[in-house]
């Protein structure tokens, strides 16, 4: 069995980064969200959110659609099937690592 530390080191860094994990987790709970809603939910600045969304879009984990609502530009973001699978798999792995870490802690002899 691999140690929880090795498993942590092997996590998918694209998904595990806190800002991106927050974005993917928020998007996995809805059909789509606009830029303002994501910024409010994640607490990220405009610039940081834009950068993280670009990275997620490049990786095919989210779809970004720019449109006009009336005269105002509106950016809607939707998680892709690949993104949904990636974030669910990531949370499953984190849960497994947590369980593994607890078992590792219990099996470590106290000094």
């Amino acid at each position: 069995m691999t140690s929880p530390f090795e498993e942590l080191a092997n996590l998918d860094k694209l998904v595990h980064e806190p800002a991106r994990l927050a974005i993917l987790t928020a998007l996995s709970a809805c059909e789509s969200a606009d830029f303002t809603a994501l910024r409010r939910l994640t607490g990220l600045s405009d610039g940081n959110l834009s950068v993280q969304l670009s990275k997620l879009e490049e990786a095919g984990l989210v779809k970004v659609q720019k449109q006009f609502v009336g005269k105002k530009p509106n950016t809607r973001i939707q998680i892709s099937a690949k993104g949904l699978e990636a974030v669910q798999r990531h949370w499953d792995r984190l849960n497994a690592i947590r369980k593994n870490a607890e078992e590792w802690k219990d099996s470590t002899p106290e000094e």
Partner: protein, 165 residues
């Protein structure tokens, strides 16, 4: 134009402006089809129950306020739906729905114990007083919910803004 019609138009304009404010300030989230279906079922069910309770309350002399009980149940349902993911700290996370539901439920049951509270406030009909009370509680719960939402989001913003690119 009559008073009730003016109130209705005023309420509709206020609702539209509030919706516009929340969309601009907090953005928009589209629910999944499954969530949208569930919301529609809950809304339709409670709308039917609200009409039924109103008709029942005006047709019969009841020892309790039925529209109030239905509204309390709807708020309790809203509380349960909002807090399923944080059951350990549900009341501290969404206190306004919980307390609004509890207060309306208790006041709806007061006539059962012979407490005619509406007469103290100059109302002749219990239903009329209860509707005014419901409106007041919902308004206060709405204000409390707005304050909680803006505080929670502001705290999240302060905490998360230092995340490195």
């Amino acid at each position: 134009m009559s008073g009730p019609l003016l109130s209705l138009i005023g309420a509709a304009i206020l609702y539209w402006l509030t919706d516009l404010y929340y969309t601009r300030a907090f953005g928009q989230v589209t629910p999944t089809p499954a969530q949208a279906r569930k919301d529609a079922v809950v809304s339709i069910t409670f709308s039917i129950l609200a009409i039924w309770s109103f008709v029942l309350d005006t047709a019969e002399i009841l020892p309790i306020n039925m529209p109030g009980v239905v509204l309390a149940a709807a708020l309790a349902m809203d509380f349960w739906q909002s807090t399923r993911s944080v059951m350990g700290e549900a009341i501290t996370s969404f206190p306004e729905s919980f307390f609004a539901s509890l207060i309306i439920f208790i006041v709806s049951l007061l006539p059962l114990f012979g407490i005619t509270w509406w007469k103290v406030f100059g109302f002749n009909a219990q239903l009329e007083a209860m509707l005014a009370f419901d409106g007041l509680v919902l308004m206060l719960a709405g204000i409390a919910g707005h304050i909680r939402l803006t505080r929670d989001l502001a705290a999240g913003e302060a905490k998360q803004n230092d995340i490195a690119l």
